[in-house]
């Protein structure tokens, strides 16, 4: 029996092309396995082999998702692939998003089994877990030795046509999809059993886990807005022209700290958008649309509030990991509080 033909998708770094400076390379193919692809040979046990590798720059993919996906699919198809493995992306956000997108497109458009591997906090997970089988990995490339056997076992199972069991059974990330099943006993009996376990303090497993509650209590309303110091922040990606802090257009890993001192309006001479998730035309034409500095200055002059805080923060809220967003928020919040800011207006898109 001829081995199954697998195509491997990698970014510019794992594909051996280069680092961040090569993030803009367009999709290209290589024969056989490249870089981490070589590690799959043993785990695939001769039942499948990586016949080709497609490499694409994370930056190019993030900024040209639809076009890049089409180009990548064409390259994959040219290898007459039976299945596709993308990544593992570990904790690299843009790479994870690209891996998820490619695997999803392979499944939907080429109707081939595809999977990926990522660290649980990778933004690609939240974006694609429902439609793509993602194997959990460690947060850095040292975890490749565990990721490879897990991904190989699963792709072989998918190639054999066997239906995958639950996430817990098979070792992939819970997709959050509910499927029906038949239990041995009617629901009423299961309910009484569950209640007794709960009352006895014994472990029990709920059949429907409630959704995650990450509720932040709302702060009380401002009492005296006329004398309040208000800060203006954005995750709409407005940055000083040239993006001096190189905030990424998606899966941002940083935020910028800038000054409004002496500035009355967010004009296109001073600012532009770095956000890769919306058509930048109108934001670049007049950044006040996303960062309404002009209106804030008007209101400040009119006395609607006390003072506009001089410092402002900006990041790109496009495929941002929850962990990263939480970190930014905590840091910004502490700094603003220490500076005596009373309230914040945070704009988004």
């Amino acid at each position: 029996m001829k081995p199954y033909r697998i195509v491997h998708y990698l970014n510019q770094f794992f594909g051996g092309v280069g680092g961040e400076e090569k993030a803009d390379i367009k999709p290209e193919s290589r024969e056989g396995a490249v870089g981490p692809g070589v590690a799959f040979k043993a785990a695939l046990k001769g039942e499948a082999e990586i016949v080709g590798t497609v490499i694409c720059g994370d930056g190019y993919f993030a900024e040209n998702m639809e076009k890049a996906t089409g180009e990548i699919l064409a390259l994959i198809a040219a290898f007459k692939a039976d299945a596709v493995i993308t990544g593992p992306a570990f904790n690299a956000g843009r790479y994870g998003a690209a891996c998820g997108a490619v695997a999803d497109a392979v499944r939907a458009k080429l109707d081939l089994p595809a999977l990926s591997g990522m660290y649980e906090e990778n933004p690609g997970v939240d974006l694609y877990r429902k439609s793509v089988v993602i194997v959990p990995t460690s947060d850095n490339a040292r975890g490749i030795k565990d990721a490879v056997p897990a991904m190989s076992r699963l792709i072989l199972k998918m190639l054999s046509g066997e239906t995958l069991g639950s996430a817990a059974e098979e070792g992939y990330m819970e997709r959050g999809i509910r499927v029906n099943c038949f239990h041995h006993r009617p629901g009423a009996e299961r309910a009484v059993e569950m209640l007794l376990s709960k009352l006895r303090g014994e472990p029990f497993a709920t059949e429907y886990p409630m959704p995650n509650f990450d509720r932040v209590p709302i702060a009380p309303a401002l009492k005296d807005i006329k004398n309040a110091t208000i800060a203006l922040l954005t995750d709409g990606g407005i940055v000083p022209k040239g993006n001096p802090d190189r905030i990424e257009s998606s899966s941002a890993t940083r935020y910028g700290t800038y000054s409004f001192a002496g500035i009355d309006s967010a004009t296109d001479k001073l600012y532009a958008t770095a956000h890769g998730g919306y058509d930048p035309t109108y934001a670049n034409h007049d950044p006040n649309r996303v960062l309404p500095l002009d209106v804030m200055r008007d209101l400040e002059r009119e006395g609607a509030f006390g003072k506009l805080y001089e410092t402002w923060y900006s990041t790109v809220g496009n495929g941002t990991s929850v962990a990263m967003a939480r970190k930014f928020g905590e840091e910004m919040g502490q700094a603003l509080k220490a500076a005596g800011v009373d309230a914040v207006i945070l704009t988004s898109t």
Binding site: R178, N180, C181, H183, G187, V192, E207, Y208, P209
Partner: protein
């Protein structure tokens, strides 16, 4: 209060000269006699009847209610008290049951509300009523009959037919194959009797939103009730009757009210590892103030009973989820542990939010399945009722009824498929 259910096992059904349960356990039905009884209600332009047996290539649609034939044989109170029986309290003495038989009512009240029962094929395993010998009643209203009248007429006719079958079979000498005894002592006794067993009650939510979304307790519209206590045995004598047709999968038919599986499960373990203290009835009104009133009252009753745990079941989707979650939260805050039974509306792909409401205290939930799951029903040889309504049945969609008679529909359209009393073995898991 003690009730004996004398159950005669039905193994067939056919038309016959006299309504009786034959020696071979085949239920004979005198069609003309039953027809005459039902026609006494002048609100029907026509009544049709048909029979559907397990395994036959038969589909019944649109189903309004399902009722188990039962009648009182001893003791005070009548079957379906306040509806076709007198209002005196029921639930004690002896009740005769034609086990394995069911009356199924079909009516074009509104085209889309009711459900499907397939007696064979893959959809059959999702409805409990593919296993019962069904007498289907198909009603046509008189011209211009007001919809509230039509709904009531259908409801009462189903109950009358169920009572008729049981009474006639019993009078003709049908004997019970087995007797089940249900006895719960008075509150005082139950508090002292099993001191080491956890005290548990059942909080029974009833659908009460309005026309075609109602439930009746002793003939009273449950919408109007303050949460109250009921003895579990009373449910076995039809004290709770369904006026709810929406949606087919999780509306509680009168049949499941009569055969409440939570009550059955608690009784089974009463005195063994649980002290089943009682049942609290509550409703699911749309008005928020009513929800709060009923919920507060129900949990207060539970506190007054001193229970440690509550099994809570709901009926319906959307705003009933709010009642379920509210009851859970209040009970847990009052120190009462809860387990909830509910179905899910997780979307056809299973990826949507299953419930309309949620709370971290709801850490023990039994799921009766995703009602949005797609299912393919094969064409059948015979349809009882009307198929032209399937496209517009809840869970159907444009084009779901195909020319060859096959149907592509959500589980939502199958009668009793995701019953939130936990009647079935269906469930769901996360992939």
């Amino acid at each position: 209060m003690k009730l004996e259910l004398h159950k005669a096992r039905v193994r067939g059904i056919q038309w016959g000269g006299k309504t009786a349960l034959g020696g071979n356990r085949v239920l004979q039905v005198n069609r003309a006699e039953l027809m005459e009884l039902l026609a006494e209600d002048g609100r029907f332009a026509s009544i049709d009847m048909d029979i559907a047996r397990p395994g036959e290539s038969v589909r019944i649609v649109p189903v309004k209610d399902v009722i188990e034939p039962r009648c009182k044989i001893e003791g005070s109170g009548e079957m379906f008290p306040g509806m076709v029986g007198d209002v005196e309290s029921a639930g004690e003495g002896k009740t005769f049951v034609l086990e394995g038989a069911a009356v199924v009512t079909c009516g074009k009240i509104v085209g889309f509300q009711e459900g499907i029962i397939d007696m064979s094929g893959n959809a059959a395993e999702y409805t409990p009523f593919s296993c019962t010998y069904n007498l289907a009643l198909i009603f046509q209203p008189t011209e211009g009959l007001e919809i509230y009248e039509y709904e009531q007429a259908c409801r009462l006719a189903g109950l009358k037919a169920a009572l008729y079958l049981a009474r006639k079979a019993h009078e003709a000498g049908a004997g019970a194959d087995n007797v089940e005894t249900y006895e719960l002592p008075s509150m005082t006794e139950s508090f002292t009797k099993f001191p080491n067993l956890p005290k548990v009650a059942y909080l029974y939510q009833l659908q009460t939103q309005g026309l075609l979304h109602d439930s009746y307790v002793y003939g009273l519209d449950a919408k109007r009730l303050l949460s109250t206590l009921i003895h579990p045995n009373e449910t076995m004598d039809g004290a709770i009757v369904s006026g709810n047709c929406v949606s087919a999968c999780d509306k509680n038919s009168t049949f499941v009210h009569q055969n409440n599986p939570v009550i059955k499960a608690l009784y089974a373990r009463h005195g063994v590892d649980v002290n089943f203290v009682g049942v609290i009835l509550t409703n699911e009104n749309v008005t928020l103030a009513d929800k709060r009133r009923s919920s507060a009252y129900a949990v207060k009753l539970a506190s007054m009973l001193g229970v440690e745990g509550l099994v809570i079941s709901e009926e319906g989707f959307g705003n009933p989820d709010a009642d379920l979650i509210m009851n859970c939260r209040r009970a847990e805050s009052a120190g009462i542990r809860t387990v909830l039974i509910t179905d899910e509306f997780a979307g056809r792909d299973g990826a949507s939010q299953s419930l309309a409401d949620a709370t971290p205290e709801a850490d023990a939930v039994v799921s009766t399945g995703n009602a949005n799951m797609m299912i393919e029903l094969p064409p059948v040889e015979r349809v009882i009722g009307y198929t032209d309504y399937v496209d517009v049945i809840a869970g159907g969609f444009s084009g779901s009824l195909r020319e060859d008679g096959s149907i592509e529909v959500e589980l939502q359209a199958i009668t009793g498929a995701t019953c939130e009393l936990g009647f079935n073995r269906t469930g769901a898991k996360t992939l």
